[in-house]
C-alpha cells in the first residue's frame, strides 16, 4: 500500500510537470454546439452555416487561474491585458497564455474596466477607489485621476468609474455607474480636466406616459420615478476615434456609433436586450456580446450579419458562455470573449464562409463592386439565401449595369431600393427599344377603329355583336350589377333606385362583394413587388375573406340597429346593398391600380398612392350619402348616426371579447375537472 502510494505521488508529480506546461489552452475540433442566424430582408431571423467556430479556451495564464475577470484588452504587439478583478490586479500575458507580468495589486480596490493604448499605457477604472489609475508599460503607477471638481460635473454626482476608453490624444471616456448624464470625458491636461458629458442617451416618453403625467397631481409627479436616461453599459473606440457604446433597454438604439459631437451614426436592424460589451472589427464591422453569451456581428450600416453563441444552461459545451463581460477582436478576425463566471477567455475563429464574407464586406465598403463579386459569389455558393450577399451582389450588378441579373438578387434580398433602381433601368431600356412599336401600334389601332366605324356606318358590320351585347345587358342580374356605374356617379338617385325602384337585388350585391373580395386578394398577394405588403410566400386568404365579411356584417348590423332607433327609414336589405354599391369605385379603380403597381418604381409610386386616395375619398362620400339617403336623414343626423355606429361596434367587440374569455374559462374548468376525474379513477 505504502509503496503504491509513493509510486502514485511520483507519477503525480511527474504528470503535473508535464501537464503544467501544455494545458493552459484547449483546442477543439470543428463543429459548433450553437447555431448561427442571420437576418433576412423582412427583418426575420433565418439560420445560416456556422460563422465562427470555437478555436481555443484560455483558462489559465501561466500557472495561475483568473478570478472573476471583468475586462481585458488586446494590444497590437501581441499582448493580452486582463483585469483579474477577483485578485485585484492586471495580468499581462502573450497570446499563448504565458504569463508576462502582473501589476496593480497594491493599488486596485474594485477594478471594473481597463484600456491599453498603443504605447502600452494601461488605464484602469476602479469603482470603489473612485479613481482612474494609469500604469506605464512596466506596470508602474504614473497617474491617478479622481472625481472632477468642475461645476458642470455636478457636486452631488458620485464618481464610480466602470469602463474606460482613451483616444489618441489621451482624452479619457469613462462610463460611471449611476451617472445618467452620459459618458464622462476627461482630458489629461492639468491633472485631469473635465471636458463635459458625451453621448447622453435620450429619454423616451411614450404617449401613455405623457397622458399619465398630465393627469397626475404635482405631488404624484414628484413621487413617481423620474424618467431618466439610461447609463451605457460598455463601449469601444475605433482607429478613427469614434466611440461605440451599448446601452441596455434602448431597443434599436442599443448600439451607437458616436462621432466627435456625440451624435449617433448607426442604426442597427436587430438589438440585444442585455448587451455586455462591444468591439470594433477589422472590416468596419462591429461586434456586440450579450451577457448571456450571444455574439452579434453588424456591418458598417448596422445590418446584422450573424448572431451566434448561447448561454450554457448546464450543458457544458464549448463555445457557450455563462456571463460575458468583454469582447475583443484580433488582427486575424478572431473573437475573444471574456467570461467572468467561467473565468476564461473563449476564442472563436471565423470559418471559410465568414472569411469570404469579410473580404466582400471590405471591398464593397471601399466601393470596389466588381472585385467584391468574386468573394460574394463564393458566399452565395455556400448560402444562396444569405441576405447581405444577395443585396451586395444586386448593388454590384447595378453598378455594372447588368440590371436583369441585379433585379433577381434585389428581389431575393428584399432590397426594395435596389429593386426599384434596377427596375427603372430595365423599364427604361424596354421603353427605348419598344417606343416605335408602341406608337405604331397606337396609330394602327386608331386607324382600325376609324375603318371599323366607317364600315359600320355603311354596312352595319357591328350590328351582330351589338345585338348580343344588348341581349346580355338586358339580363336582369347584369342590369342590376351594371347599376353600380350609375350609383357611383349619381348616389342620391342611386339610393332612390335601391330604396324604391328595386334596381338591385341581394344576389347582385353579393356577386359584387365576391368580385370585390377576389380583387382584394389578388391585389394583396400579386401586386407589384415594391408595393406588396405581405411577405413573399405568405398567404392567409381564409382570414382575409373572413375579416372582410365579418367586418361588413358588423358594420351593417350596427348601423341598422342605430338607424332603427333613430327614425331611419332604411331596411336592412337596403342598407346592406347600398353599402356594397358604395364600394363601386373600388371595383372600377382596383384593376388599374393593380396593373400600374407592376410597372411603377419608387419614383412614380405617387400615381398609385394618389389613385388609392382618390378612390378612398369617393367611397367614403358614397357611404355617407347612402346612409343619409336610405334613412332620409339630415347631414347632422348622418354624422350622429355614424358616431353611434362606431360606438356600437366598439361595444359589440367588447361584448364578444368578454363572452370569449368567459367561455374559455368554463371550457378549461370542465377539461381540468375531467382530467382529474380520469386520473383519480385511473389510480
Amino acid at each position: 500500500m505504502k509503496k503504491g502510494m509513493r509510486k502514485l505521488f511520483v507519477s503525480l508529480a511527474a504528470l503535473l510537470l508535464v501537464v503544467g506546461i501544455a494545458a493552459n489552452t484547449m483546442e477543439v475540433d470543428a463543429k459548433a454546439p450553437y447555431r448561427t442566424y442571420t437576418i433576412d430582408g423582412y427583418g426575420l431571423i433565418t439560420e445560416t452555416q456556422t460563422a465562427y467556430l470555437p478555436y481555443q479556451t484560455i483558462t489559465k495564464i501561466g500557472d495561475e487561474l483568473l478570478s472573476g475577470p471583468t475586462d481585458f484588452c488586446l494590444t497590437n504587439d501581441g499582448y493580452m491585458y486582463i483585469l483579474d478583478s477577483g485578485n485585484k490586479r492586471v495580468v499581462v500575458s502573450d497570446m499563448e497564455a504565458n504569463m508576462v507580468m502582473t501589476f496593480g495589486q497594491d493599488v486596485l480596490v474594485n477594478p471594473r474596466g481597463l484600456y491599453v493604448t498603443g504605447d502600452g499605457t494601461c488605464y484602469v477604472a476602479d469603482r470603489d477607489a473612485r479613481s482612474i489609475f494609469v500604469f506605464d508599460k512596466e506596470g508602474t503607477l504614473i497617474n491617478t485621476y479622481g472625481k472632477p471638481n468642475h461645476p458642470l460635473y455636478g457636486e452631488t454626482q458620485d464618481f464610480l468609474p466602470q469602463k474606460i476608453v482613451v483616444n489618441e490624444s489621451g482624452t479619457m471616456y469613462i462610463i460611471c455607474e449611476s451617472n445618467t448624464n452620459g459618458i464622462v470625458q476627461i482630458s489629461p491636461v492639468d491633472g485631469g480636466t473635465f471636458l463635459g458629458y458625451f453621448g447622453t442617451n435620450a429619454t423616451n416618453a411614450s404617449l401613455w406616459d405623457i397622458v399619465w403625467r398630465m393627469l397626475q397631481t404635482d405631488a404624484q409627479r414628484a413621487k413617481s420615478q423620474g424618467n431618466i436616461p439610461a447609463t451605457p453599459d460598455n463601449m469601444a473606440i475605433d482607429e478613427k476615434g469614434l466611440i461605440y457604446s451599448v446601452t441596455r433597454g434602448e431597443k434599436y438604439d442599443t448600439l451607437k456609433r458616436l462621432n466627435i459631437a456625440g451624435v449617433n451614426m448607426i442604426q442597427a436592424d436587430a438589438y440585444e436586450e442585455v448587451p455586455a460589451a462591444v468591439a470594433v472589427g477589422n472590416h468596419d464591422n462591429v461586434f456586440v456580446a450579450s451577457s448571456q453569451g450571444y455574439i452579434y456581428e453588424y456591418n458598417n450600416e448596422g445590418e446584422m450579419l450573424f448572431v451566434f453563441g448561447g448561454s450554457d444552461d448546464g450543458q457544458q459545451r464549448i463555445g457557450l458562455s455563462t456571463k460575458v463581460e468583454a469582447i475583443q477582436v484580433d488582427s486575424e478576425n478572431r473573437i475573444y470573449v471574456l467570461d467572468s463566471d467561467k473565468a476564461q477567455i473563449q476564442i472563436y475563429e471565423p470559418t471559410e464562409f465568414t472569411n469570404y464574407l469579410h473580404e466582400a464586406l471590405y471591398l464593397f465598403s471601399k466601393g470596389r463592386y466588381t472585385e467584391s463579386k468574386v468573394p460574394l459569389q463564393e458566399v452565395l455558393k455556400m448560402n444562396n439565401l444569405f441576405d447581405y450577399a444577395n443585396m451586395a451582389m444586386g448593388r454590384a450588378l447595378i453598378q455594372e449595369e447588368n440590371y436583369e441579373e441585379a433585379i433577381k438578387y434585389a428581389k431575393l434580398a428584399k432590397d426594395f431600393d435596389g429593386y426599384s433602381d434596377a427596375f427603372w433601368e430595365i423599364r427604361n431600356e424596354w421603353l427605348k427599344d419598344n417606343l416605335v412599336t408602341i406608337i405604331l401600334l397606337i396609330i394602327g389601332l386608331w386607324v382600325l377603329k376609324k375603318v371599323v366605324n366607317v364600315l359600320d356606318k355603311k354596312k352595319g358590320i357591328l350590328n351582330g355583336p351589338r345585338k348580343v351585347l344588348a341581349k346580355i345587358g338586358s339580363v336582369k342580374l347584369i342590369k342590376e350589377m351594371r347599376y353600380m356605374f350609375y350609383f357611383m356617379r349619381h348616389p342620391i338617385d342611386g339610393c332612390y333606385g335601391i330604396k324604391k325602384e328595386g334596381k338591385v337585388s341581394l344576389l347582385s350585391a353579393n356577386l359584387l362583394l365576391t368580385i370585390g373580395i377576389i380583387f382584394f386578394v389578388i391585389n394583396k398577394y400579386f401586386c407589384g413587388f415594391l408595393l406588396k405588403l405581405p411577405r413573399e410566400g405568405e398567404y392567409d386568404v381564409a382570414s382575409d375573406i373572413g375579416i372582410i365579411i365579418i367586418a361588413l356584417l358588423v358594420v351593417v348590423l350596427c348601423n341598422y340597429l342605430m338607424c332603427t332607433i333613430n327614425d331611419g327609414e332604411g331596411k336592412i336589405k337596403h342598407i346592406y346593398c347600398s353599402f356594397i354599391y358604395s364600394f363601386a369605385p373600388y371595383l372600377v379603380f382596383m384593376p388599374f391600380i393593380f396593373a400600374i403597381s407592376h410597372v411603377v418604381t419608387y419614383n412614380e409610386v405617387f400615381f398609385v398612392e394618389f389613385a388609392t386616395l382618390f378612390m378612398t375619398i369617393w367611397i367614403a362620400l358614397l357611404v355617407f350619402i347612402s346612409i343619409r339617403e336610405i334613412n332620409n336623414y339630415t347631414i347632422k343626423e348622418t354624422f350622429w348616426i355614424i358616431f353611434l355606429t362606431i360606438f356600437t361596434i366598439l361595444i359589440a367587440l367588447l361584448l364578444a371579447f368578454i363572452i370569449y374569455v368567459l367561455w374559455s374559462q368554463v371550457f378549461d374548468f370542465i377539461q381540468a375537472l375531467f382530467g382529474e376525474v380520469v386520473y383519480k379513477i385511473g389510480s
Binding site: K31, Q316, N384, V541
Partner: protein
C-alpha cells in the same frame, strides 16, 4: 510477586503474539501469495489471460492481467480523505441504486451504508450474489462471470424484487467505479460514444467542471420530455444544437501507462440506460465511467390543457422489464487503447452476427430533393427542385467527368412532396415525371451501376396532409407527441405508433416490389426510440426498439436497404450507413475526438458522412472523411436552392448542382483513389500526435497521415503539408 509478574509477562507476551499472528494473518496473503488476493479482494477464477478477484463485503471485483500484472479495480482503494460516507459507499459497492420514495428518486442505496443481506455462491467461472435491502424491501441477484474475452456482469430481470409500495428501484449502476483512477495518478482516458467517439484524458482537471457526461443510450426519451428548456434567442429561436445521440451502447476506460483497458458493451437493457462519465473534480477527485440502468422514471403529469392548471409528479407505474447485462471486453498492452476498443467491438459484433460484411467499394453519395411545397392562395403549391430527367442529366454529366461510382437517395419523390408523409404506396409526384418514369430511372441507373434509393421517413406523420387523429403516439403523460418545426408551411409533425409504421411500410414495400424495384432508404425509425402510450396502454423503449427491429428485419429480406444514422441494433441490416457524424458534441470536458464508430464499420459496411453542403469548413471536413474512411455525401437540387425559401426546407441554403459539380468531381476522384487502396481493409491502428497529425493504419499495411495543422508537419519521417494528407503503402 514474581509469579504475578511472570503471569503478567506471559499475558503480555500472549497478547503480543496474538496481535502479531492476527496482523500476520491479515497481511500475510498480500505478502506471501500476491496472486491470490489484491487490496482485500480474493481470488475467484481465471482464464488464459486474466484473473478475477472479489471482495465479499462489497462484491467489488478486480481484474488482473496475468502477463503484465496490471489490474483494474471496481472499488476505490486509495482514499484521499475528502470523501463522505455516501461517496465512499458509491465508490466501493458493486451495485449503486437510487430508490424512488414519494416521487423523489435521489436516495442512494448501496451495499455499504445500507443494511442488506448477501448470499454468495461461487460458480465455475465466477459468482452470483443474491442481495436484499431490508429497509427498502427490494433486492436482486448479481451474476459475475469471467469469460474468454472478459467479464460479464448481469442482473436478471426476474431476480429483481420490490416488496413494498413505499420504495421502488429508480436506477441501478453496476460496477460504477470499475477502472476508476484518482486525479492524474494514471495515464489514459475514458472513451465515450459521443458522436463518432470522444476521449476524456485522465489528467488533473483542477476542478474545472461541475458536471460530467450523462446521456441516454440511443438518444433522449421524447416520451418523457415535457418542455424543452433550451437557450432561446429573443425568447424564440433555438440557439443550441442538440448533442449527438449515442449510436452504440459502448464505453471504455484505458490505463495506457499500465497497458490495460476495457470496452464495456451494454448487452441487455441498453435502451433504458445512460452512460455516465465523470472526470475528476466533478464532486470527487476520481475519474469514472459507467452505465446506469433506469428502472423507473419520474414524469410530470399536467392536469389540464393550459399551463395554469397545474401538474403533479408521478412515477412510472411499472418498472421496465429487461435483463441488465454489461460485457467488459478487456484489452492488454498494444491493444489497450481506443483503436483496440473499436477493433474489439467490431470483432464482437461480427462474432455475434450483429454485423455482416457488405460490399464496401467506393461510391459518392449524391442525394436529390424532388419536390417541396410552399403556401399558396388556397392550400399549397409545388416547388419542383429535381425531376427524373434532371437526374438523368446529372448522371450523364458526371459520367462525362469520369464520376460513375454513385449512390443516391431520392427525397421528396412521392406524390405531395417531401413532407407528404407517411408514404403509403409507391406513387411518384407527377411534377418529377410520375411513377413509371421514376421506375425506369431506378432500373436504368442500376444498369449503369448506380443505386438510387427512395427515401421514406417511416416515423413521422404530417397532420396537415394526412389524418393524424388515430395511430399517433402520445407521451407517457397521455399528451399527443408533437414536434414543432418553427417553419411556415407545416408547423408540426406527429409520430406514428410503431405498429402503424410497420403496416404502412409493408404496404409501401409491397406496392414498390410490384414494379420490380427494391432500393429503399429508411429514416426516422432507424434512430428514434421512445416510450409512449397508445389506447390506454404504456409501451417502453424496449417495445419500440423491438418493433422497429422486426420491421427492418422483415423488409431487409425483400429490399436493398440503406439506413439513415441507424442505432447499433440495426447495423446488420444496413447495406450502407448514411449520415455518420464525424465530430463530437463539443462538451468542454472532452479532450479529443476519435473516429471510433468509423473504425468499427470501415471495411464492414460503407459509411457515408453528413452532407458537405452545410459544412462551413469544407476542407477540414474533407480531411475528416479521409481520416475516418467515410464516403462523401452531397444534397443536390437541379434548381437553385433559393427556390426553397418559402418552403419547410428553407434550411437547405445551398444545394444547386451547378454550384457543386466541380466539388463532386474533385472529392470523388481524390477519395476514390484513397479508398481503392484500403478497400475491404479494417483500420487496426489510430494515433494522434501532438503536432495535430493523425495516423491511421489499415490491416493491409496502408498508412494514412492527416495533418490538421496550418503548417507543414512531419511524422515517422514523412512530411505532410498543411491541412493535407499522405497515403503510405
Amino acid at each position: 510477586m514474581v509469579a504475578k509478574l511472570k503471569n503478567k509477562i506471559a499475558i503480555a507476551l500472549a497478547l503480543v503474539i496474538t496481535i502479531l499472528i492476527a496482523e500476520f494473518s491479515l497481511f500475510a496473503p498480500v505478502e506471501v501469495n500476491a496472486a491470490k488476493s489484491i487490496n482485500g479482494h480474493n481470488y475467484v477464477t481465471e482464464n488464459d489471460r486474466y484473473v478475477l478477484y472479489m471482495n465479499e463485503d462489497y462484491l467489488s471485483i478486480i481484474v488482473e492481467d496475468k502477463v503484465t500484472g496490471a489490474y483494474m479495480e471496481s472499488a476505490m482503494s486509495y482514499d484521499d480523505g475528502k470523501n463522505n460516507k455516501t461517496w465512499i459507499g458509491a465508490m466501493q459497492s458493486a451495485l449503486v441504486l437510487t430508490a424512488v420514495y414519494s416521487s423523489v428518486d435521489t436516495q442512494q442505496v448501496d451495499l455499504i451504508n445500507d443494511e442488506c443481506t448477501k448470499k454468495i455462491t461461487y460458480t465455475d467461472n465466477g459468482f452470483t450474489a443474491e442481495i436484499f435491502w431490508k429497509k427498502y424491501q427490494f433486492g436482486m441477484t448479481l451474476e459475475v462471470s469471467l469469460e474468454d474475452d472478459g467479464v460479464v456482469a448481469r442482473v436478471p430481470d426476474e431476480s429483481i424484487v420490490e416488496k413494498t409500495n413505499q420504495y421502488y428501484i429508480g436506477t441501478i449502476s453496476i460496477y460504477p467505479y470499475l477502472g476508476h483512477s484518482y486525479l492524474d495518478s494514471k495515464a489514459g482516458y475514458m472513451f465515450l460514444p459521443d458522436g463518432n467517439g470522444a476521449l476524456i484524458y485522465l489528467d488533473n482537471k483542477e476542478a474545472r467542471f461541475s458536471s460530467g457526461y450523462s446521456s441516454m443510450i440511443y438518444g433522449d426519451d421524447v416520451g418523457f420530455i415535457d418542455s424543452e428548456v433550451t437557450s432561446l434567442l429573443w425568447g424564440k429561436y433555438e440557439m443550441v444544437n442538440d448533442p449527438n445521440k449515442i449510436l452504440a451502447p459502448v464505453f471504455g476506460m484505458a490505463h495506457t501507462d499500465e497497458g490495460i483497458a476495457f470496452l464495456a458493451v451494454v448487452e441487455e437493457g441498453a435502451e433504458r440506460a445512460t452512460i455516465e462519465a465523470q472526470p475528476n473534480g466533478v464532486n470527487i477527485d476520481y475519474n469514472r465511467i459507467y452505465a446506469k440502468f433506469i428502472e423507473r422514471k419520474l414524469y410530470t403529469q399536467p392536469l389540464g390543457n393550459d399551463s395554469s392548471s397545474g401538474t403533479i409528479k408521478l412515477t412510472e407505474e411499472d418498472r421496465s422489464h429487461s435483463d441488465l447485462q454489461i460485457r467488459y471486453l478487456f484489452l492488454s498492452e498494444e491493444n489497450a487503447n481506443y483503436a483496440g476498443m473499436a477493433n474489439a467491438y467490431r470483432n464482437y459484433l461480427l462474432g455475434k452476427g450483429a454485423l455482416t460484411v457488405k460490399d464496401t467499394s467506393y461510391n459518392t453519395r449524391i442525394d436529390f430533393l424532388g419536390t417541396e411545397r410552399e403556401d399558396w392562395l388556397i392550400g399549397t403549391s409545388s416547388v419542383v427542385m429535381t425531376t427524373v430527367d434532371d437526374i438523368y442529366g446529372i448522371y450523364d454529366d458526371l459520367e462525362s467527368a469520369n464520376v460513375t461510382d454513385i449512390i443516391s437517395v431520392y427525397k421528396g419523390w412521392q406524390k405531395g412532396g417531401l413532407y407528404d408523409i407517411p408514404i403509403t404506396k409507391y406513387k411518384a409526384d407527377g411534377d418529377i415525371g410520375g411513377t413509371d418514369d421514376l421506375t425506369k430511372l431506378i432500373k436504368d441507373s442500376q444498369e449503369r451501376g448506380i443505386s438510387l434509393y427512395l427515401y421514406n421517413n417511416a416515423l413521422k406523420i404530417n397532420p396537415d396532409e394526412q389524418n393524424a387523429t388515430f395511430n399517433v403516439v402520445k407521451r407517457i403523460n397521455k399528451r399527443k407527441l408533437t414536434e414543432k418545426t418553427y417553419r411556415d408551411v407545416y408547423e408540426e409533425f406527429n409520430y406514428l405508433t410503431p405498429a402503424r409504421s410497420k403496416t404502412l411500410v409493408n404496404k409501401f414495400v409491397d406496392s414498390y416490389l410490384k414494379k420490380k424495384v427494391s432500393n429503399l432508404a429508411i429514416a426516422g425509425i432507424t434512430n428514434n426510440v421512445f416510450s409512449y402510450s397508445y389506447g390506454g396502454d404504456f409501451y417502453t423503449r424496449y417495445n419500440c426498439a423491438d418493433s422497429y427491429k422486426s420491421l427492418i428485419e422483415q423488409i431487409d429480406g425483400k429490399t436493398n436497404l440503406v439506413l439513415e444514422q441507424p442505432y447499433a441494433y440495426l447495423w446488420e441490416y444496413a447495406d450502407a450507413y448514411l449520415d455518420m457524424p464525424l465530430y463530437t458534441s463539443d462538451y468542454i470536458y472532452e479532450d479529443e475526438s476519435v473516429p471510433f464508430m468509423s473504425i468499427v464499420l470501415k471495411g464492414v459496411i460503407p459509411v457515408y458522412a453528413d452532407y458537405i453542403n452545410f459544412e462551413a469548413n469544407k476542407h477540414e471536413f474533407f480531411l475528416r472523411m479521409v481520416e475516418s474512411g467515410s464516403f462523401p455525401s452531397f444534397y443536390i437540387t437541379k434548381e437553385s436552392s433559393s427556390d426553397l425559401i418559402y418552403t419547410n426546407s428553407n434550411d437547405i441554403y445551398s444545394s444547386e448542382y451547378d454550384v457543386y459539380r466541380d466539388t463532386i468531381i474533385e472529392y470523388s476522384t481524390e477519395l476514390k483513389e484513397i479508398s481503392e487502396k484500403t478497400e475491404g481493409a479494417y483500420i487496426i491502428g489510430h494515433e494522434i500526435f501532438d503536432s495535430q497529425i493523425r495516423k491511421v493504419t489499415y490491416d493491409n499495411g496502408v498508412v494514412i497521415y492527416i495533418n490538421y495543422a496550418r503548417t507543414g508537419q512531419s511524422a515517422d519521417g514523412y512530411t505532410i503539408d498543411a491541412m493535407s494528407y499522405k497515403v503510405v503503402e
